[in-house]
Every structure is written in structure tokens, then in C-alpha cells.
Symmetry: C2
Subunit: 355 residues, 2 copies
DNA sequence: CTGAAAGCGCTAACAA
DNA sequence: TTGTTAGCGCTTTCAG
């Protein structure tokens, strides 16, 4: 009789079942070529001893290497720097665990993303994280990637009709709904408000606008959205149009800016000395906004948590690829609401963010 | 000449340096008994090939097993069920990676926690996650744990003067500050508001109260906190005192409830038909609150995200124990603000939570 | 001061 | 249908 060294895992099961580890392996994985009886016996023993595969041993043995492409723009830095940071920080947690990242250059949302994505397709990747700026154009590419076995996770922006495996985002309409509800709560009945947006033909902007209008109307009896200004992310245009609005609508008591470019609006409010008469709700956060927050020019901001979105995209994809965790088709997040009281807890306010 | 099989890691470095893997291991770990020259040579080569240790191989070789004790109450279920869920879900991600969890029974915050914690001390654990209900009494126990090498992470509630390695929580005062700021934004000048709390001798409750008073006073000119009601988490007491208040203060326009037990207040408001004249800000979320949210009785709730706190506590502790990641001494989170618009995205509203 | 070798639990290729 | 065996990259022990 051999000295019974204490063992565990597959060898233990093999000894208990009186078979070899090869047979146990086959049973545990439902591989073909095994007797019904032994299969059942092994499975039973495995259950009894509460067998759990050792992830480290498996990873070491299979030598599985996972390569993940990152296809995300550099601009607007206010937003995408945070997203990159989240992706990088989360990625670093997996360094040394068989995960590599392959970034490709996309200068700006929607520009150059198709060629960049195509480049990623040629490298055999197990997964890609992408921000489709032009969902229609990207859909066939995403579908092609999925067909060749590359899992695609959209982040921040979605390609809803594509075959992407998952999306991590905040629904644009929800941002608008929250802003509208807050605004209605801030103001009294029959209030007049306005919206400053980028371009309404951008889906993101139009949905935020629509959401705001819907919830503001519902919750502010007699309230009115007197203007929707398209500023095209252009500082001067934004400043001028806002200033004009403030002059022509002296009764105005609220403005919702649903792109990240709110500084011109802040300046217009300050110049017209109406900073405290008008409640301003903005979107996201970067350093130069902070003084306006502290002065009370900005009452609240709807923060889309790009850092968290990046983290979650990486994490869910890696866990899926490495450990077979389920990839949910949608991962919708809640935006957080920034007020003066909690401003200090956002990384952008701590010298970590850009801007 | 031997056929040069493609290798990597320590064996590769060994071959390049013309030494054995044992020597490379010593060099890489700064272990004693190695020649200055070879040490430098090996380190240089390691740097050149960009050596990164393989976490799976290391884990397999060392067979490191990590056991983490969980010392968290069952009641109040509204809150702690979520915390448990977060801990369990996050823990499950690490199953099969050499992490075991050892829960001990604590019926209720602060009751029986000392004996439960002592029990954990006898089992040799690498870490403990604990909710110190009575920080003064727990401090010496926590210190003892840390002294014997058990990393202690406090969650939700803190023992600030102890030697705990980390805390994951939302500062109570911040909850109050946010509630106060929101309330000030919701109401006009000279508004009268009240606070319903549990017991002011509970640090958590008094800090939330103090925070609310501070920010409300600062942001609502002429505003006044006309009453601070201690309801001792007692439904009848809470209902009665609120009803009395509503009668004696017809001008009242806001109430902040800073414990999870807000239902009696909701009922009092409904009974007195003043539900829509008084803005109600509550704390956390459970199922029975939802109708009051939808009816507009509750204007907003400050959610302390117990699920996320649990996740983060487990995650940071495991990453520290397994991969040597740094454990920050404090991990302060932001509460999220629940409105009607985003209510549906909270797990409590999706049949996941309790209550 | 350095080398050799065993083995962690699992997979996969080959033998029987 | 089943058993045997050689590693995966690292740590650790024992010889030299």
C-alpha cells in the first residue's frame, strides 16, 4: 500500500474513484469516450468532496493568453482621459495573469475609428473594447469581429443593433431625465428653462434633450422649455447664443447643458450678472468647472463616470474570457449627481482628472 | 548544443544569464547568498526582456490559501442583506482561486459582535471584514487581530482609532451634507424643515444630523431646522412624533429622515394630507419605499450603496492578500442620489433587494 | 555562493 | 474506454 499523501482536486477524485486522473478530467469536462457508469461515479464523488477547479493550475496548464484590443478616442480629453484611466488601472490589475492590451489610435470620436477597428481585426484578439462614434458604420465591423470569435464590448456609446456581446454605458435619455427632474425640483411652478446642447443630429445629444424635456414638463406644472440651443461644441458660438438668450428671456430661471462644454455658458452667466438667478445643471466634470461649482454658478452636474465605465468594461470582458463568467448584453449604469457637498470625492477634483 | 525550446519567465532569464533557475529566483527576490555580479547581470536581463512574474504559476507553486472572516450583522436586513450580497457575489468571483470565506453570526449591529470577532481570531485568518457597531469595544480586538497578522477591513462603519488596515464607507456627515444641500435647493428662502433620526447618541445618526444642519443653514438663507426628532427606530413612536410635528408646525416644508426607517414618516405625511406640501428626503432604499417614491411622497433618497461597499471591501482585501496590492487606509465612497428617474436602476427596485 | 530536482493541480497528447 | 506522461512557471529544499 502506497503512503497516502494528502492530495486534493482531480488526483483526489481519481484515487477515491479508483481511476486515473485522465478519466476524471474527461468526466469533469464531459469529454467523449467514457463509460456511463464511471462518469456518474466520478461526478458523484466530485460533488461529495465539493470539488472546485483550481483556476491557477488551469491557467498555468493551458497557458491561455488573452489579448484585448482597445479602440477608444483621445478627444474630447475631458471625457476620454478618464475612460482610458479606468481601462488602464483595471487592466493593470490583470498584468501577469495572462492578459495583454492592444490599443489603437482613434484621434476623436467617430473619426478614424473604422480603419482602427479593422486593424484590430487582423490581429487575432479574444476581445475588443470600443466606443462606436458612428454606430451604423461600425455595426458590420463589429458583427465581423463577433463572427470570427472576438468578443466586442461597447463602452460609453452603443451600437445597439450589432452583435456586440455587451455594452457598458449610461443611457443618454436617463441623463436628461435626471437633469429635468432635478431642475423641476429646484424651481417653482411655471418656470422657464433652456437647454444648451451640441448638435441635435447626434443621437446622444438629442436623447438627453428629449429626456430633459419629458421629465421637466411632467414635474414642473406650467413650466416651459423656451429654447434649445445648438452650440456645436464651439466656445464662441456657445457664449454668444447664451448671452443673447439671457437678454431676450429675462424670466429664464434654469439652463441645462448636456455636453461637457459648459464653460462658455458659465462665463455668459457671470458676465450678465445673472449667475445666481439662473440654476445651471451641467454634464460631467473637469477641473476648470470647479470654481464655478464653488461659487454656486453650477448647481449640479450629471456625471457619467467614464472611469467606472472603463473599469467595468475591462473587468467584465476579462472575467468572461478568463473564467467564463457570463457577459450581460447590457450593463446600464447610473450617473452620479455632483453637488458642492460631494465634489471633493470625484477624482477630477483631486488632481487625477484632466482639464 | 541543445535544441533551444522557446521558453519564458525565469527559465528564459536563467538560460540567457547562463545560470540556474534557482539563482535567478534568488536574484529576483533579493534573497541572500548571491554574488553581486550575477545579481546585477540577472536583474539587467530581467529588465531587458521585460520580465513579469506569472501570477498563476506563483499561486500554484506556493499553494497559498487565503481565509477571510466575515463579521457582519444580519439585521437591519434592509441594509445588511445588500451588504452580504455584495460580499458574496464578489467572493464568488474568487472561488477556485484559493480564497475561502468564514462567516460568523452577528444577529444585529453591535450585539454579539465581540464574541463573534474573538471566535474569528482563534481561526488563523489572513483577513477579516467587519462592521464595528461599537467601535470603542472593538478597537482592542481589531488591534489584536492586526498584531497577529490578520488584516482587518472595516466596512460601512469605522473604528477610526484602531489599527485596521482599511475602511470602506460613506462618511455619515457627507450623507447629511448632501441631504441638506438638496433640501436647500428644493425649497425657497426662510424654509422650515425638520429631521427624523434614530438616536443622537449613535455617532452615525448625530453626524448625519449635524451635516444636514450645517449645509442647510449655509445654503438656505433664513432657513430653520425647527425640530430634530429621535424616533429610536420605533414605528409607532416615529409616526406619532411626526404627526404631532406636522400639526404644530403648519409651515413645515421639508423633512430629512436619516435612518432607513422612513415608512412611518411617509404614512404620517399621507394621513395628514400634507404629502405634497412637504419635501421628504430619506436614506437608502427598500421595496416598500417604492410606492412612496412613485407617488412623489419621497422626493429623493441618499443611498449608501451597501452592495458596492461589500464588493469593494472584499475586492481590495483579496487583491491585497493575493497579489500584494496596496490597501488604502481609507476608501470613502460617494452615496448616490435616488430620484424617480433613476429608481429603476437600483437593485432594490428590481426584486434583488430585500424589504 | 550555486545547481539540481521535486512538485503545486491541471491539460493534452499519446499509449494501451 | 482508460491509463500514462510531460510539462505550464514558480517556489523550495537539499546537495554541492
Amino acid at each position: 500500500m502506497r503512503a497516502a499523501r494528502k492530495q486534493s482536486g482531480i488526483p483526489l477524485i481519481a484515487e477515491l474513484a479508483g481511476v486515473s486522473i485522465g478519466t476524471v478530467d474527461r468526466a469533469l469536462h464531459g469529454r467523449p469516450g467514457i463509460n456511463e457508469q464511471t462518469l456518474k461515479r466520478i461526478l458523484k464523488i466530485a460533488r461529495q468532496i465539493g470539488y472546485k477547479p483550481n483556476a491557477a493550475a488551469r491557467a498555468l496548464s493551458t497557458g491561455r493568453h488573452v489579448r484585448i484590443g482597445i479602440c477608444i478616442p483621445k478627444e474630447i480629453a475631458y471625457f476620454y482621459d478618464e475612460l482610458w484611466d479606468g481601462i488602464r488601472d483595471e487592466g493593470n490589475r490583470y498584468s501577469g495573469r495572462g492578459v495583454d492590451f492592444v490599443p489603437v489610435a482613434v484621434p476623436e470620436l467617430g473619426r478614424g475609428e473604422q480603419s482602427a477597428f479593422k486593424k484590430l481585426l487582423t490581429a487575432k484578439l479574444s476581445g475588443v473594447i470600443v466606443t462606436p462614434g458612428n454606430p451604423e458604420a461600425m455595426t458590420p465591423l463589429i458583427d465581423a469581429a463577433e463572427r470570427q470569435g472576438t468578443r466586442v464590448v461597447c463602452v460609453s456609446t452603443d451600437a445597439p443593433v450589432s452583435q456586440r456581446s455587451s455594452v457598458v454605458c449610461i443611457e443618454p435619455r436617463l441623463n436628461g431625465l435626471i437633469a429635468g427632474e432635478l431642475m423641476a425640483n429646484f424651481l417653482s411652478v411655471r418656470a422657464k428653462v433652456a437647454i444648451v446642447t451640441g448638435m441635435l443630429k447626434t443621437v446622444d445629444h438629442s436623447q438627453k434633450t428629449e429626456g430633459f424635456v419629458a421629465s421637466f414638463r411632467e414635474r414642473c406644472p406650467g413650466g416651459e422649455v423656451v429654447a434649445v440651443i445648438e452650440a456645436h461644441e464651439h466656445p464662441e458660438e456657445s457664449f454668444r447664443k447664451t448671452a443673447n438668450l439671457l437678454e431676450s428671456e429675462p424670466e429664464l430661471s434654469g439652463i441645462y447643458v448636456n455636453t461637457v462644454n459648459c464653460l462658455p455658458v458659465c462665463r455668459a452667466l457671470a458676465t450678465m450678472k445673472s449667475a445666481h438667478k439662473v440654476r445651471l445643471i451641467t454634464t460631467d466634470l473637469f477641473r476648470k468647472m470647479i470654481p464655478y461649482f464653488e461659487r454656486g454658478t453650477i448647481a449640479a452636474s450629471i456625471h457619467q463616470q467614464p472611469y467606472v465605465q472603463g473599469q467595468l468594461a475591462v473587468r467584465s470582458l476579462v472575467e468572461h474570457l478568463l473564467h467564463g463568467a457570463e457577459l450581460l448584453r447590457t450593463q446600464y449604469l447610473n450617473p452620479s449627481i455632483i453637488l458642492r457637498s460631494n465634489l471633493h470625492l470625484f477624482r477630477e477634483a483631486n488632481g487625477l482628472g484632466s482639464g
